[in-house]
């Protein structure tokens, strides 16, 4: 019983911290700064939120952002997982690909924006491309290290049980063994991709989008609305992460329960 009481009080500590942060923010904004252009107060932000809900643009913004994010993430998985598998499975392919990847990887995703526009025009695809660049490397690297780390004993046990073709070894042994690492890579990719979203929408690829709207209201000097979008971006990113973890752990990684991770 003590344990659960402890759990509840810890949860309340978190809630208290959030409330406290909002109070401090309100005091600073309304009491000290007193300029909602420089620092909108929580009350200003809440009013702006109601206003934005009334305009009905929040849902389309959200949907457009999801489209951009979806394009980038799906492309990153479609490219990153096969490349990561091939590099993790074949030393030769690793030696072949590694220099190229290590050269491309340090280029910030946002530096690709000019080429995104030239290649894809002002379309959702170019925003998707920027997100893809941000998301693909974590997927490759985690898939690769997951495959590298597959214990040899599993591969040999598989071989002794008639699983001898490379394709089958990857499908039945290496991929499931590497899945925790692959999933961690996808999680990181989601985070990075979501962070690229605001910049990717900055150059006007669509009329809506959370990042797009954030820039729009900045240009309109409506900093209270900017804060609304900042909070929405943060909450949406958090929600994705939680949903992903919950789903993956429920459906694919339940065998890890009871293991010391």
């Amino acid at each position: 019983m003590k344990l659960s009481a402890d759990g509840i009080s810890k949860r309340w500590l978190g809630v208290i911290a959030i409330i406290l942060a909002i109070v401090v923010w309100e005091v600073i904004a309304a009491g000290i700064v007193r300029n909602s252009f420089i620092l909108p107060s929580p009350v200003d932000v809440f009013t702006a939120f109601q206003e934005l809900v009334a305009t009905g643009r929040l849902i389309p913004d959200f949907i457009d952002s999801l489209v951009h994010f979806g394009i980038g993430l799906v492309a990153a998985l479609a490219v990153g997982i096969p490349v990561g598998i091939a590099m993790g499975w074949s030393r030769r392919f690793d030696a072949f690909m590694d220099p190229v990847i290590e050269l491309l990887r340090p280029i910030p995703p946002l530096a690709w924006i000019p080429f995104a526009i030239i290649w894809f025009g002002l379309t959702s695809w170019s925003a998707g491309f920027v997100i893809f660049v941000g998301a693909v490397f974590p997927v490759i690297i985690n898939t690769y290290s997951g495959f590298r780390g597959v214990p040899r004993i599993f591969v040999e046990a598989g071989k002794m049980l008639g699983c001898t073709k490379n394709f089958n070894l990857i499908r039945y042994i290496a991929f499931p063994a590497a899945l925790p690492s692959v999933a961690a890579g996808i999680r990181i990719a989601c985070g990075v991709g979501w962070m690229c979203l605001v910049a990717a929408e900055l150059f006007g690829v669509s009329n809506n989008g959370l990042g797009m709207a954030l820039w729009l209201y900045y240009n309109l000097h409506r900093m209270d609305c900017v804060v609304v979008y900042m909070i929405l971006l943060g909450l949406a990113g958090l929600a994705f992460d939680m949903a992903f973890r919950y789903y993956i752990e429920r459906h694919f990684l339940k065998w890890r329960t009871g293991e010391v991770a």
């Binding site: 040999e156 002794m160 699983c163 039945y172 063994a177 065998w255």
Partner: protein, 253 residues
């Protein structure tokens, strides 16, 4: 059938200075069908190397390994293996681990579960069919590994110190269970161990390897009736004979 012939087997590995480390030196022996043979030796005598060659996981430099008149090259469905380390697939539950080989053979689900169920019962783990390996004790994991190897009905079962990591009681219990399974399924078994007690308890024959390079030092027939009593005078006598011989002739030179 499960007749195994090892002919003139040589294996060496390159060393850093360019010379070669001879691990197995002209090994010759036979294992008869349905025989339980223990290969006994201290660590570094090449017993795991030998087993991996028979399993087809590595290739021998020279010599041949012939199973029922057919030379072993690569993995062979007629040979099953139980590894020293835990080798169960942690992402599959017990049933799907045992059924893995059958799945690779392309059997439909009902069929492979029907067969797997039989082996699950053989190792007395029916109530754990849905459990994941992380939920099992070390002894239970090795029992599942035995069932998984047997599910493909190999003629030859290779066991590489499978009970080495277990505590003494569990070890004794599993040895007894293994003999029961062997009586029931009548496979040829090659069992690697460094424990004289284990070798005397289990085997029809003990092949003692001497280390560096691995050579056959001596082959014993164990003529004790089963079930064997570890505390009996006869058992102790055989143990003493084996131990004496190892300390006199088979130690590191």
């Amino acid at each position: 059938m499960g007749n195994l012939e090892i002919r003139d087997l040589n294996q060496s590995f390159p060393r850093e200075d360019g010379s070669r480390l001879v691990v197995l030196d002209h090994l010759n022996f036979e294992v008869k069908d349905k025989e339980f043979v223990c290969i006994l030796g201290s660590s570094g005598c090449g017993k795991t190397t030998l087993l991996r060659l028979i399993a087809g996981l590595d290739e021998a430099q020279e010599g041949s390994i012939v199973l029922d008149g057919e030379e072993i090259k690569g993995q062979n469905p007629k040979v099953g293996m139980v590894f020293q380390e835990y080798s169960l697939f942690p992402w599959r539950n017990v049933m799907d681990n045992i059924a893995f080989g059958l799945e690779m053979k392309g059997l439909i689900k009902e069929e492979r579960y029907r067969i797997a169920q039989r082996y699950l019962e053989l190792v007395n783990l029916s109530q754990f069919r849905e459990s994941y390996p992380s939920e099992l004790s070390g002894g239970m994991r090795q029992r599942v590994a035995v069932a998984r190897a047997l599910a493909l009905d190999p003629v030859l079962l290779l066991m590489d110190e499978p009970f080495g990591a277990l505590d003494a009681q569990t070890r004794n219990m599993l040895q007894k269970e293994l003999l029961d399974i062997w009586e029931e399924t009548k496979k040829t078994v090659i069992f690697i161990t460094h424990s004289v007690d284990e070798a005397v308890y289990l085997s029809d024959r003990i092949i003692v390897l001497s280390p560096r390079p691995g050579r056959i030092c001596r082959i014993f027939d164990v003529e004790l009736d089963r079930p064997r009593d570890r505390t009996s005078v006869e058992f102790a006598k055989v143990r003493r004979t084996v131990l004496d011989l190892i300390s006199q002739n088979c130690a590191i030179q």
